[in-house]
């Protein structure tokens, strides 16, 4: 049921988003379909049309009306059903772009914002069901804040046989240096150092790790346990070598935003004492895959403003490392250009009818985030994760990150 199997006509897309304001994910993503973006040395206009838009939360600062006025092909609909059926009563688009990030939604008991990815999914797949037809589905970031829903989203995508593509831009953005994890390599330990807070940017850091280690020998075989470290327990674990110093250093030296621990220097490798002074709330999730691979996701908010990766790969004398570069519009840039490869991969999804990378990656990282927050809430208790042990998949052997 690929959208464009019968003709070369431009795919017609529906967008279902939380809130559409400057610098929110919906603006970054839907804008790129409407306005185009720099790609491969040209200003690129996607060969598809955004024909409908549903916005869940409206308010001050909205820019979608301005966009709709300039791009009259895109009609606003007050319901998700309307956006997908274009008022015809049946599915009338060739693809769906869902952005469930941002907006104002309450937090779950465990402290995760209850973004409406699943609620959107339910309504969208209700249209698929009543129409007897499904179309490619792009879902920005995680699947859901609740594991059962994450799992159900993936199961339903298989049941209704439509490609579901999700995840973070970290997996597809520039890498500095521009390197790919060697396919089939044996990896013992892997790490990401990032920034941001718990139940938010940890997802990006988890995707950073997973988009690399899923390429290891045997592919992904699931995660059997996870343990969170926060505050003093983090520093103790760091000094006790719970994660390898060698990888920590390799990842940190790939950062281009390392804050100097000594203010008279501009770029200096920090001591532990300096790190403690800069990072009031450090966080780590350490987790072990069923094949023995141990991964550590670390957030050092206050010390770095980027995401870096390091891994110990058999046969390589020193750690494999790189930065997943986010040209952040926080003063460093004006465009969050890391959304360009995310949208480019979404375009490929709509043009080919095939997910560019497995949704199981995002299923696993969504589950890791939920488990990580739970472990942190339980004071760093090690949690067995039989649900995540069952997530197994093979990677796309082709690289899908930004390199041209």
């Amino acid at each position: 049921m690929a959208p464009n199997e019968t003709s070369a006509k431009r795919p017609q897309l529906a967008a279902v988003v939380t809130a559409y304001r400057k610098l929110l994910h919906p603006q970054h993503i839907v804008d790129r379909f409407l306005e185009g973006y720099g790609w491969n040395g040209k200003y690129h206009y996607p060969q598809m049309d955004m024909v409908s838009l549903y916005v869940d939360q409206r308010g001050e600062g909205d820019v979608f009306q301005e966009r709709a006025d300039r791009h009259p092909t895109m009609k606003l609909y007050p319901t998700i059903d309307g956006a997908l059926t274009l008022g015809t009563g049946k599915l009338a688009v060739d693809g769906v772009v869902v952005v469930g990030e941002h907006g104002t939604y309450p937090k779950s008991d465990s402290g995760i914002v209850m973004h409406p990815h699943y609620e959107f999914f339910e309504q969208i797949t209700a249209v698929f069901r009543k129409s007897g037809r499904s179309v490619p589905y792009f879902n920005d970031k995680e699947l859901s804040w609740k594991w059962e829903w994450c799992k159900k989203m993936v199961d339903v995508s298989h049941e209704l046989n439509f490609p579901l593509q999700g995840g973070s831009s970290l997996a597809v953005t520039w890498r500095i240096p521009s390197v790919e994890f060697p396919l089939g390599a044996t990896v013992r330990e892997a790490m990401c150092i990032g920034y941001g807070g718990i139940s938010s940017y940890d997802f990006h850091a988890l995707e950073t790790i997973q988009c690399m280690v899923e390429r290891r020998r045997g592919g992904e075989c699931g995660v059997e346990w996870l343990q969170a470290y926060r505050g003093d327990a983090f520093w103790k674990a760091h000094q006790d070598g719970i994660w390898p110093q060698e990888l920590f250093k390799a990842a940190l030296t790939r950062s281009s935003t390392l804050r100097p621990g000594d203010p008279t220097f501009s770029d200096i490798y920090p001591t532990v004492e300096q790190m403690k002074a800069m990072v009031p709330d450090p966080l780590a999730y350490q987790y072990q895959h069923r094949d023995g691979l141990r991964c550590t996701m670390i957030l050092l908010h206050g010390m770095v403003r980027d995401f870096t990766f390091a891994a110990k790969i058999d046969g390589q004398s020193k750690p494999f490392s790189t930065q997943m570069y986010l040209p952040m519009p926080d003063g460093r840039t004006t465009l969050a250009s890391f959304f360009s490869p995310l949208v480019h991969n979404a375009e490929q999804l709509f043009l080919t009818g095939k997910a560019q990378y497995p949704i199981e990656r995002t299923l696993l990282t969504s589950g890791l985030l939920i488990a990580g927050v739970e472990s942190a809430n339980k004071g760093g208790q090690r949690l067995q994760t039989p649900n995540l042990a069952a997530v197994t998949y093979q990677p796309n052997p082709e690289s899908t990150f930004w390199r041209s």
Partner: protein
């Protein structure tokens, strides 16, 4: 206590591991652990050592190391002496003891306190190097012979005590003077050491030319240039060696001097790889204001290349700042509204290749290039300049400098910087003469590019 003379003696004849590491290196270890070779002794000479200065960001890397290839790399270098021109210039204009007595004024030290105060005294104490009153002293470290193995020269504008500018808007930085003082010492002792000159060789091509000739005559490696030529590229791409290049368009921001040099040099480091190697520059013209848009409409440079270069930018201004949208800055026709004072450096090479550097303050904030190879192939990329304070692009440069010191081999010829120095000066001459096109027979320089790309990739 360790006297300076003894310190120099020790560092000259013994392994760094034995030479009072805790005292001399304050626990930072100016030497990589386990390095067998004696560290290379470095003299740092520059204009101002304040937080955020080029001298601080680069010279510090030789004191405390820098990120390189996924590790914190400690170069096998020991800074043994430093000359800071600002200190000497302050001393020269400071009231004398007599003046103080006469006026009853309070004495003010050379290094005031404050966030951007001079750091050289503190660094000297922390790392045990000698602060010198003049350049020959920095080379001799208090002895009567050259006692260093290499020189790092970082001369830049000193905001608190500015160097003067000429009528062409060039800051008269004493890069040539620093170099000449070293050369005179080298000549006097018949002993020369590798020399790195940050950025352009001089504001004057004639001086720059004599610098390159002196280095050839005295047979020491002279390396020069800026970080933009060696920093990361997004994407990681170069002009394939030996490919014909019709034209290149570079876009960036600047103001007729230091940053514009960096952009010109980054352009040059790609173009020198074209078929036939570097043939030199035949003529230049610097356009400003509306003349830029007129020239653009007349097809003086390729709009497609401009569009390609701008497609690499992460910093479009205007509507992007207003509401976050992406913009095709060229086909929307918005550039003239955004850029109030455009400038175009138009460069005609002897072999017919053309290059244009467009300074687009107000439209973007980063540096991007597009080049048309023979046929329709276009290569485009962004020169990635990571933000302050870490400015890790200068770590890329420090690594190149370090490799040159250790090997005495130049990663790229000084002629690259020489030609760029000449192009910048010629363009400023053109500007001075109401944007006249100037023939540049003196810039008919030829040289060969290194076979391998020298920007950082790993």
């Amino acid at each position: 206590m360790l006297t300076r003379r003894r310190f120099v003696g020790y560092s000259a004849m013994s392994s760094s591991m034995l030479a009072f590491p805790s005292l001399l290196r304050s626990g930072f270890g100016q030497t990589p652990p386990g390095s067998a070779q004696r560290p290379l002794r470095l003299a740092v000479i520059g204009s101002t050592y304040r937080r955020g200065s080029n001298m601080q960001t680069i010279a510090d890397r030789f004191l405390i190391g820098y990120p390189f290839e996924g590790d914190w790399h400690m170069p096998n270098v020991q800074v043994v002496s430093m000359y800071v021109d600002e200190q000497s210039r302050r001393a020269a204009v400071a009231p004398t003891e007599f003046d103080h007595a006469e006026t009853g004024s309070a004495r003010r030290g050379a290094a005031e306190s404050g966030p951007a105060s001079d750091l050289s005294t503190a660094r000297s104490k922390q790392f045990g190097f000698r602060l010198c009153r003049n350049i020959p002293e920095a080379l001799r470290c208090g002895t009567d012979r050259i006692a260093v193995d290499a020189v790092l020269a970082i001369v830049e504008q000193c905001d608190d005590l500015p160097y003067p500018s000429n009528s062409k808007g060039q800051v008269l930085l004493p890069r040539y003077d620093f170099f000449q003082q070293c050369v005179q010492t080298f000549e006097a002792e018949k002993h020369s050491v590798p020399y790195f000159n940050h950025k352009q060789l001089s504001f004057s091509f004639a001086e720059a030319q004599s610098m390159v000739k002196s280095a050839e005559r005295l047979k020491f490696p002279l390396m020069a240039g800026s970080s933009m030529a060696v920093t990361w590229r997004l994407p990681d791409i170069d002009i394939p060696l030996g490919t014909p290049v019709q034209e290149a368009v570079m876009v960036g921001v600047g103001g007729f001097d230091e940053m514009d040099f960096d952009a010109l040099e980054a352009t040059q480091c790609m173009l020198e790889r074209r078929k036939g190697g570097e043939t030199g520059v035949k003529a230049v013209q610097l356009l400003e204001g509306d003349d830029v848009w007129i020239a653009q409409n007349e097809g003086r440079w390729s709009k497609d290349l401009l569009s390609s270069a701008l497609s690499r930018s992460d910093t479009p201004l205007g509507l992007t700042v207003l509401d976050g949208r992406n913009q095709d800055l060229v086909s929307s026709g918005v550039l003239p509204q955004l850029v109030k004072d455009p400038a175009a450096y138009c460069i005609e090479y002897v072999d017919g290749t053309r290059a244009t550097l467009l300074i687009l303050n107000g439209a973007i904030k980063d540096f991007n290039i597009a080049a048309r190879l023979g046929g329709e192939d276009v290569v485009s990329t962004q020169f990635f300049m990571p933000p302050a304070p870490s400015e890790t692009y200068s770590a890329c440069l420090a690594a190149k400098i370090d490799q040159m010191y250790q090997s005495r081999n130049l990663p790229y010829p000084a002629e690259r910087t020489l030609l760029t120095t000449g192009v910048l000066e010629a363009c400023l001459n053109s500007r001075h003469r109401q944007s006249q096109r100037l023939e540049t027979p003196n810039l008919a320089l030829t040289y060969k590019s290194p076979a391998d790309s020298q920007y950082i990739r790993t």
